[in-house]
């Protein structure tokens, strides 16, 4: 299990050091600094073995978090734990920065004592932790309160406490998708997938039993057999994972998604699709080398969705060679600029409706070089945001039952929003 946990600043000074196991000595702190943080070469692996001691590290801005062990631990678990640790810290004091860590080190030690015991991760749901690890000091609790805390921390529903009350029962569903594409210069899709998340923000009283439904092909087809014909609007989900509140065995057996949600925000589900993806934009590049000192680039983008919808925050990034001396750009729409420090032409368009087309052309002057190495021609990348789900996912229902309290499914105010964003959306040129 995890033998110790260290947090360093970018210089390698240790900000937090908590040792859980006797086999981890103080020298481990220095070993990581010398061999990883101060290493001459770029880090080649997130797992480093130094003198039979293994170090797992993740970096958040310029802060290093390192877990140390001498045993054959579950590596995936250690990384998941480090991420979780970051989430917990962010939930408590915001951004993970040197200053925040120094200012909250007592709190961090307290958290580390609670969520890792002898190197075994314990309940690390912030909702539960915040009931008894607070920044204001523990109030004297009544016996009932104490046992409620302990039963929540150890209980089956560790993510929600009892007795929550709202005057207005409300819930918000965000379907957030990132669409990823790798396209060849000829316009052939090399790989495309959507990774999506369903984020739920709920303000519901009591212990509400929820059921979530979407246009999952498997479910629709099953129902189609029973009664009316399938609508054809269903999507094939390659794989999905759920927040720990979702009853996985029920999903496995009936493919129904039922759960008691944590209060406030949670990521209910993540999913991935690869079939019938709506690619919101197509990029058509044309690069021509004119002699040794000039490049001509023409890029056309086409929007491919309903004309009534508007895409926003569109940004096309066209890489330029390292020996670029000057660039002239003409674009039909938006603004384009050559950014020498980033070696790219950045073309920004605020809004663009569906089924439209726009074009940019640029002339790139090059300095003659003797460099034998060819320019690697990085792909043209794109960023955007569209108000629909490129996977085609639709929320069909979210039913709420709370048998003990007197509100029904109809009394809950529900909101659904779809946002599609670009993930890694690249076209080779």
């Amino acid at each position: 299990m995890i033998g110790g946990l260290f947090i360093y600043n970018h210089k390698g000074e240790v900000l937090i050091s908590r040792v859980y196991r006797d086999d981890i000595g103080r020298n481990a702190v220095d070993a990581f600094r010398v061999n990883v943080i101060h290493a001459r070469q770029q880090v080649r692996s997130p797992v480093t073995n130094i003198a039979r001691t293994s170090f797992f590290h993740v970096k958040r801005s310029n802060i290093w978090l390192a877990a140390v062990t001498k045993q054959n631990v579950n590596a995936a678990m250690v990384f998941e734990f480090l991420y979780k640790m970051c989430d917990v810290m962010t939930a408590y004091f915001g951004k993970i920065s040197e200053e925040n860590i120094k200012n909250n080190f007592v709190l961090i030690y307290e958290l580390l004592d609670e969520i890792l015991d002898f190197g075994y991760p314990q309940n690390s749901e912030t909702g539960a932790l915040k009931t008894f690890i607070t920044q204001t000091g523990i109030k004297s609790q009544s016996k009932e309160e104490q046992s409620q805390i302990t039963s929540q921390v150890t209980g089956q529903i560790g993510w929600r406490r009892e007795g929550i009350k709202y005057r207005r029962n409300e819930l918000f569903l965000d379907v957030l998708e990132s669409v990823n594409l790798l396209m060849s210069p000829q316009g052939q899709v090399l790989s495309a997938h959507v990774s999506g998340r369903v984020v739920m923000k709920s303000y519901l009283s009591g212990m509400p039993e929820c059921k979530f439904g979407m246009n999952d092909k498997i479910v629709i087809d099953k129902q189609g057999k029973g009664g009316e014909g399938a609508t054809g609007q269903s999507i094939a989900i390659d794989d999905c994972t759920f927040h720990q509140c979702v009853r996985l065995s029920k999903f496995d057996a009936e493919r129904s998604i039922s759960f008691i949600p944590p209060d406030g925000e949670c990521e209910l589900m993540r999913y991935r699709t690869t079939k019938d993806i709506i690619l919101p934009f197509r990029v058509i590049p044309l690069v021509r080398e004119v002699g040794r000192t000039k490049l001509e680039v023409k890029v056309v983008i086409k929007s491919n969705f309903k004309p009534s919808l508007l895409a926003q925050k569109i940004e096309v990034r066209i890489p330029t060679p390292l020996n670029t001396s000057g660039v002239q750009v003409i674009c039909m729409k938006g603004k384009a600029k050559y950014k020498a420090s980033e070696n790219a032409i950045v073309w920004k368009i605020k809004r663009m409706a569906g089924m439209k087309e726009s074009q940019i052309s640029a002339e790139i002057e090059l300095l003659p070089t003797n460099d034998k190495k060819k320019w690697a021609r990085p792909p043209i990348s794109m960023n955007f945001e569209v108000p629909f789900a490129p996977s085609g996912l639709k929320v069909r229902y979210l039913k709420v039952f709370e048998p003990k309290l007197n509100y029904s499914d109809h009394d809950v105010i529900k909101w659904v929003r779809y946002i599609g964003r670009s993930g890694i959306y690249e076209t080779r040129c």
Binding site: M1, E13, V14, L15, I16, S17, V19, R21, D22, D23, V29, Q42, R44, S45, P46, V47, R52, T69, Q71, N72, N74, A75, A76, F79, E80, K102, N103, F105, V106, E110, F118, Y120, Q122, N123, S124, E125, I138, S147, I149, T150, V153, T154, G155, G158, L190, S195, C240, T241, F242, H243, L248, S249, F251, D252, E267, R272, K372, K374, S381, E426
Partner: protein
């Protein structure tokens, strides 16, 4: 108050100041002082001098202050054991506190203080806490047992805590169950043979129930524990799999990977024709792909594991090639791993796409990545024959870029392509030769030299090219020197007239001026070969080379099986067994996949779907010089050496029949004996490889006397690394017969879980002499006359000093029938019967005072005479 920024230095004056503050009456001031102490402690300053003052703050109602003092105690108690005792009372009191959070805190902290006296006081509170009414206290106490075990294992056993811990597996609270499982698993690891966890269908059922209810971390503990269980039959295995599969949809990647581990392991037991088996295979792919959208560090862990899974069960991900395509922004460690998996998944169906990608990668910036991409193109050529031509032309394009490391890498892989497809792509040699000067890495130079030597007859200036390398012979690495030596000898054999001087030069450089024994030995071998028998030399040096296999860098099957049992853990990230990086006894136990119960006990068969015979052999890496010497260039040189050794030095000492480097680490030596009428083959098997060998079996080729194993090879326990085992294999003489040359030659195949290996050895024919070989005098006389004189052969045995030859010979079932003395000469008449019924008659002449004996042998099958004579010689001289 938290916003106070601490300076991270403590000097003597400050210690004094802190001391005063710690002893202050004001609570807030006290608390701030303790915080400062902890801050100093964090950065490694020694604040142990404040021990008594800090411990004095322990008696407080303020939970936050208490936690800080505890933190300090955990750090310094060990260095101040006597003073730590001061804290015991407070701990014991806190364990009785009405607030469960404080009870748990006390028992948790006490377990972290490694001071004997404190440990003694821990036992009673711990016992109470293990049975506490509050689950939070129980789950903390469960972990505390593991802590105590780490400090004093005997104490834990004596106090009966292990039994209490076992009881907690049936606790009503899932988190208590999970922590108890985690603690027990860890304790069990240090007692490999104890039955601590006592996994049985009932306890497994409890675990599976808790699995649905506990936290993500608890699920990991339980799944990792389940993976150690071996189900009794395929039905149980299937029902566990069914209950574990829902975990594949968990958001936590570690839960997913641990579930994959359980499924991969238990799948071994399922019959392949079962519908469920197919369903399960299909269910595994999507979650594995989903892992690739996790954070990069987790992707790395996932990819290292997928690499194992793809080797074990390629069918799972064979259609998912695209998800392993490298993204421009992937961290380098993710890129390299993806590339590895791409090569493994490359097949005829997807090769076009893969090649297009690889070509793209070869123009990237990261040197390691580009090299690997170039190498991958070569591997594709070797793996998918249809693509070879395109791969070669892609490689040529890359060579034209003149980027130094790309060229070198390309040349190394082209050498392998030549090995795989001889006489097909030699037209590219000219292009390669152009780049000779830019090669500065040993591997590339060695590859180029190999190419020049191999195709010397087609390269007009081959001698000049090789000569140019010869100038700096002593500065080259061994790899290049060896290759250069072989290449020049090849050149000489192909163009003897022009290159005599060159070959002389290289031989003298290798044998006289070099300190490297490998190089010297190879030089001498060539020299002697060339000087004694150039024709033989040609046959040896220019012998046809065995084809190289398609797959490389495969993990040894036994290691792979072990690693599959460690999916998700560090072992699977390092691709090493835990014993390679874990100190002490922990986790050193080798794990194995279960065998499929009924049909096929052979794990290799059940697992890979292909018989071990078909298992691809692994190309020895270039660095393995000895392997290179034996396998690549001189397959024929050493074999005869071993064989002649056998026959001329007698057979009583075990001979090395199969050297370890020819058999992936298995060394076999042995001898033959005849005991109580039974022929025994005495084998000594030594495992010189890194991993465990199992599933040994032996078979003989047809041979002159129909020797065949009378039973299976009795190697019942797996053979660990560096272990040696001696086995006796009884032989029968009723097997199929085929005349061998020499007559007593025996070709043997030995199989283990890794591969099948072949060797040949010679047995002394005296083994075949049967006990009832004493002929009647009359019959002897008649037979002697009856056998034509043409069948008689005469031999001399020199330097023999024996008093009673006949007694000695009788021990080997050579029976003396008559003896007469003629003119001071002893004439001994003897008979021998071979196991196949052939009679051999002998006449031994011994002259007093003359150590040279003369022997005449008469037999209807005169071929055996030579062998029989050798036996005489061996027996009489021993």
């Amino acid at each position: 108050m938290r916003s106070v920024m601490f300076r991270f230095h403590v000097c003597a004056g400050e210690i004094f100041e802190l001391k005063a503050e710690l002893n202050s009456d004001k609570k807030e001031k006290k608390k701030e002082a303790v915080k400062k102490v902890i801050a100093s402690m964090t950065v490694g300053k020694d604040v142990s001098a404040l021990f008594p003052d800090v411990v004095n703050c322990m008696q407080t109602d303020n939970l936050e202050l208490k936690k800080l003092v505890y933190l300090y105690l955990m750090n310094y108690a060990k260095s101040q054991p006597d003073m730590a005792i001061m804290a015991v009372n407070t701990f014991v009191k806190d364990c009785e506190d009405p607030n469960p959070l404080i009870r748990a805190l006390a028992v948790r902290t006490m377990g972290c203080i490694r001071v004997d006296k404190i440990t003694e006081y821990l036992c009673e509170p711990l016992r109470k806490c293990l049975k506490d009414e509050d689950p939070y206290v129980r789950k903390t106490a469960a972990v505390c047992v593991a802590k105590l075990h780490d400090i004093n294992a005997q104490l834990v056993e004596d106090q009966g805590f292990l039994d209490t811990l076992k009881d907690l597996i049936s606790d009503s609270n899932p988190m208590v169950v999970a922590n108890a499982v985690a603690a027990l698993s860890e304790i069990a690891e240090s007692h490999p043979n104890s039955n601590l966890l006592d996994l049985n269908p009932q306890s497994i059922n409890k675990l599976l129930t808790a699995l649905n209810e506990c936290t993500e971390w608890g699920q990991i503990f339980i799944l990792d524990c389940l993976a150690n269980y071996t189900p009794r039959d395929d039905r149980e295995s299937q029902s566990i799999c069914e209950r574990v599969t829902p975990r594949l949809s968990h958001a936590n990647s570690a839960v997913v990977l641990s579930a994959v581990k359980v499924l991969m392991k238990f799948m071994e037991m399922l019959p392949k024709d079962l519908d469920y088996y197919g369903t399960l295979l299909k269910k595994l792919a999507p979650p594995l792909v989903t892992l690739l959208s996790a954070e990069p560090e987790l992707q790395y862990v996932a990819l290292r594991n997928i690499n194992l899974i793809v080797q074990k069960r390629p069918e799972i991900l064979k259609h998912e090639m695209k998800v392993f395509f490298v993204k421009y922004n992937d961290p380098i460690y993710v890129k390299l791993e993806k590339l590895d998996i791409m090569i493994r998944l490359a097949s005829q169906a997807n090769i076009a796409q893969v090649l297009a990608e690889l070509k793209e990668y070869a123009t990237e910036v990261d040197v390691d990545f580009v090299r690997k991409a170039v190498r991958a193109i070569g591997r594709c050529a070797i793996k998918v024959e249809q693509s070879a031509e395109r791969c070669v032309s892609t490689l040529l394009d890359l060579i034209q870029t003149k980027v130094n490391y790309v060229v070198q890498e390309a040349i190394v892989v082209i050498k392998d392509i030549f090995r795989k497809y001889p006489n097909k792509y030699e037209s590219v040699i000219a292009t390669l030769c152009e780049n000779l000067d830019s090669l500065d890495e040993p591997e590339a130079r060695a590859a180029m030299i190999w190419i020049v030597g191999e195709y010397a007859e087609r390269i007009d200036n081959a001698d000049e090219l090789l000569e140019s390398f010869l100038e700096g012979f002593h500065d080259e690495s061994t790899q290049v020197q060896l290759q250069l030596l072989t290449a020049i000898v090849k050149l000489f054999l192909k163009k003897p007239t022009e290159t005599q001087e060159l070959v002389q030069q290289v031989l003298s450089l290798a044998t006289q001026d070099s300190d490297n024994p490998d190089l010297r030995d190879r030089g001498y071998i060539y020299w002697r070969l060339l000087s004694t028998d150039p024709v033989a030399a040609k046959e040896v040096v220019l012998a046809e080379k065995p084809l190289i296999s398609e797959e490389t860098d495969l993990i040894e099957p036994t290691l792979l099986e072990e690693l599959i049992c460690h999916i998700g853990t560090l072992a699977s990230v390092y691709h090493k067994p835990p014993s390679a990086f874990v100190e002490g006894s922990r986790g050193v136990m080798h794990k194995r996949l279960p065998a499929q119960g009924t049909e096929c006990p052979d794990v290799g068969n059940a697992a890979g779907g292909s018989a071990p015979e078909a298992a691809p052999s692994i190309i020895p890496s270039q660095g393995d010089l000895l392997g290179d010497l034996l396998n690549l260039d001189l397959p024929a040189v050493l074999l005869p050496l071993f064989n002649t050794n056998c026959s001329s030095y007698g057979i009583l000492y075990p001979q090395v029949w199969l050297p370890a480097m020819k058999a992936k680490g298995l060394e076999i030596s042995g001898t033959f004996a005849r005991r109580a009428g039974v022929i025994q083959m005495e084998l000594v098997l030594t495992n010189k490889a890194m991993s465990v060998m199992t599933d040994f079996a032996i078979q003989f080729n047809r041979n002159s006397f129909g020797l065949a194993p009378a039973g299976p090879l009795q190697v019942l326990t797996p053979l660990g690394p560096n272990q040696t085992i001696e086995v006796s294999l009884p032989l029968s003489t009723v097997g199929p017969v085929m005349k061998m040359d020499p007559l007593n030659n025996l070709q043997v195949a030995v199989k283990n879980n890794i591969d099948v290996f072949y060797f040949s050895c010679q047995y002394p024919i005296s083994m075949l002499f049967v006990e009832d070989g004493k002929m009647e005098r009359q019959v002897f006389l008649a037979t002697w006359k009856d056998i034509p004189n043409d069948n008689e052969s005469q031999f001399q045995i020199q330097d023999c000093h024996l008093n009673s030859a006949s007694n000695k010979l009788q021990g080997s079932n050579i029976f003396t029938i008559a003896k007469r003395t003629v003119e001071g000469q002893d004439m001994l008449y003897m008979s021998i019967k071979l196991s196949n019924g052939i009679w051999v008659l002998a006449e031994l002449k011994v002259q007093a005072g003359n150590p040279n004996y003369t022997i005449s042998l008469k037999c209807r099958a005169p071929e055996v005479s030579q062998c029989v004579f050798q036996c005489y010689e061996a027996v009489l001289k021993n």
